[in-house]
Symmetry: C2
Subunit: 132 residues, 2 copies
DNA sequence: CATGACGGTATCCTTTTTGACACTATGTGC
DNA sequence: GCACATAGTGTCAAAAAGGATACCGTCATG
């Protein structure tokens, strides 16, 4: 996404929608947030929950989430490094959004990109009613 | 976003969240959808509602939304071209998501990236150089 | 005739994002 | 000594996304 990293959001209505989305875009952020809703996780725990994400990507996404104040990173100064990630209050407040997203996804997955196969090919360019 | 254009979404839980987000990412898609929630709009109407979007971008985003079955494009074979865009049933079903996004955005806009400054600084309201 | 509205296309170019891969440091277990 | 786990970092390169600009054809208006 354009990702201006929230320089300024004083557009018209709809702007806040864009703003909210800007925070959870990125190929893995939403998924990470979603998993963190179940509780604190360590780096490699998240990684194992999301097959396909690389170390570098996960690090990046977590860093951005942290920058945006959605996720809290807690480092334990131990010898086998231990880092815990959890949602901040702000992150938790996004719960409803994530759930709405998941509900919609669950309900509609499996037919994206082929809604036209539904019934007919109504690609008619019909009705030239009024002439402007 | 990677945007594999929904090849397959059979990852683990959280996957549907990613799937849903993949459909409304893109710098303007969510905003477009949001505006279409108020009713059908013509190309240039949308354009005027979203200052900052270029023709090419708007066309792209609308095309992708159409491909994904979220938006319906209706062309009137008239001489001054007339094209109307509206939400499909699938698009309408995403209403709650968009609203959740907007609510969250409205409630939290203006403090992204600086949640640590918790106290003080209401200076994020100052009018930037732009003059209409 | 020139201009503007309409709804786009076509090009070109730059910025961002993502992915692959290698490498670090420390400690434990074998 | 060797491999493994932890949580990363660094570099390079490819692929997407986004932006700027110019152009198309038609009609109506001035």
């Amino acid at each position: 996404m354009g990702k201006v990293r929230h320089s300024r959001f004083d557009c018209t209505p709809g702007c806040s929608v864009e703003a909210a989305i800007a925070l959870i875009d990125g190929k893995w952020k939403s998924v990470v947030m979603f998993h963190l809703m179940d509780g604190t996780l360590r780096f490699n725990e998240i990684r194992r929950k999301i097959p396909g994400v690389t170390q570098r990507m996960l690090t990046n996404q977590l860093r951005e989430l942290e920058e945006d104040g959605l996720v809290v990173r807690k480092v334990y100064a131990q010898v086998p490094p231990k880092v815990e990630y959890s949602l901040s209050a702000l992150g938790v407040s996004m719960g409803p959004v994530l759930l709405a997203l998941r509900n919609w996804g669950d309900a509609n997955i499996g037919r994206f990109g082929k809604p036209h196969v539904a019934t007919s090919t109504a690609d008619e360019v019909e009705t030239p009613p009024e002439v402007a």
